[in-house]
Symmetry: C2
Subunit: 196 residues, 2 copies
């Protein structure tokens, strides 16, 4: 596998391409599933696939290789990488003797999901709470005609406030503590049923 081949005109040949960027069946299965999963949670399929690929990779990968491996356009990869960098779960690294940007994913699952949750909170939950606050205020001013609306929106707002407050508690715990906590449900329940 020589470098000259890699950039030769034969790169367009599928067989040649596969020689350079083949995924194992297991990795392929994960990449595809992760892509599907992404779409169901409002994340672009290619973005999720790239993330999966980098997560499984033993080494940083340059953009063109990602494009080859996943069989998508180079431009698509470029945009998706920017998106992932925006989320903060992948980053650029450089490899000696290679001008190209290489990309690697965070490897710590807990850290990764914490970042994702933080981001989604910031982008979606916080604005929702802001809207709810505003509407509750407006409903108060509007008086009796909006009394019921105010009550419903307050309930919703209260829910979000509790949930985000709670999430705030958890995300300040060290990662190990969360795991511990998950294993001692009964004692927690007891504490709560007696405590203030």
């Amino acid at each position: 596998m020589t470098t000259c081949l890699k950039y030769s005109i034969f790169c367009n040949d599928r067989i040649m391409r596969n020689e350079h960027a083949q995924l194992s069946p297991i990795s392929t299965a994960f990449v595809l599933h992760w892509g599907e999963m992404g779409t169901r949670w409002g994340i672009n399929r290619t973005v999720a696939q790239i993330h999966a690929l980098l997560y499984l990779s033993t080494r940083p990968i340059p953009a063109d290789e990602i494009a080859e491996t996943l069989g998508v356009a180079r431009s698509n990869v470029s945009n998706s990488l920017r998106e992932l960098q925006g989320w903060g779960i992948i980053r650029i690294v450089h490899v000696l003797g290679d001008r190209r940007d290489h990309f690697e994913s965070l490897k710590d699952v807990w850290e990764m999901f914490q970042i994702i949750l933080d981001e989604r909170k910031k982008r979606e939950v916080d604005p929702t709470m802001a809207v709810l606050k505003r509407l509750v205020d407006e409903a108060k001013s509007a008086g009796k005609g909006e009394e019921h609306t105010r009550e419903r929106l307050s309930a919703m707002l209260g829910f979000f406030e509790t949930m985000t407050g709670w999430y705030g508690q958890i995300r300040r715990m060290p990662a190990g503590a969360v795991v511990k906590f998950a294993k001692m449900g009964d004692r927690i329940r007891k504490l709560i049923s007696t405590g203030t």
Copy 2:
């Protein structure tokens, strides 16, 4: 406002329509925002809007009135209502002297979100975990070539297992306990740092 008007040819007139199905500005704002929010989390806009509408409503609403109010096709409403019933967060009720099905939403926010989380877990997280389990097994069989892949997938699976186990603990708590818990983060942290 007579019944004959409601089903008269004037129903097509926007002014007439509004007379029957007008939302307050506050309610409108919430319905629209909820619709946007839905799309970001992989839920159809109309579905989310209908849910918002029913959540704010003081009374059960028939499908055709929903269609009027939101300005969408009757068929669209029909499909969206089926979807929402599939989720289990709205139900059909009947009103005396009216043959039509009326729909009402769950009003308890906690119950509502618990149902939504349960459903999404069942539909998306559980299948993901099944896939991960299978792939981890396959990677074990595959031996050394897939050692790294196995390790990554195991980490991911472990994360999901902890999270779902944890969610299982929480969702068995009475609703009030969760709120309580959110307010006593420090004591919980202490417990965890000393406990088993």
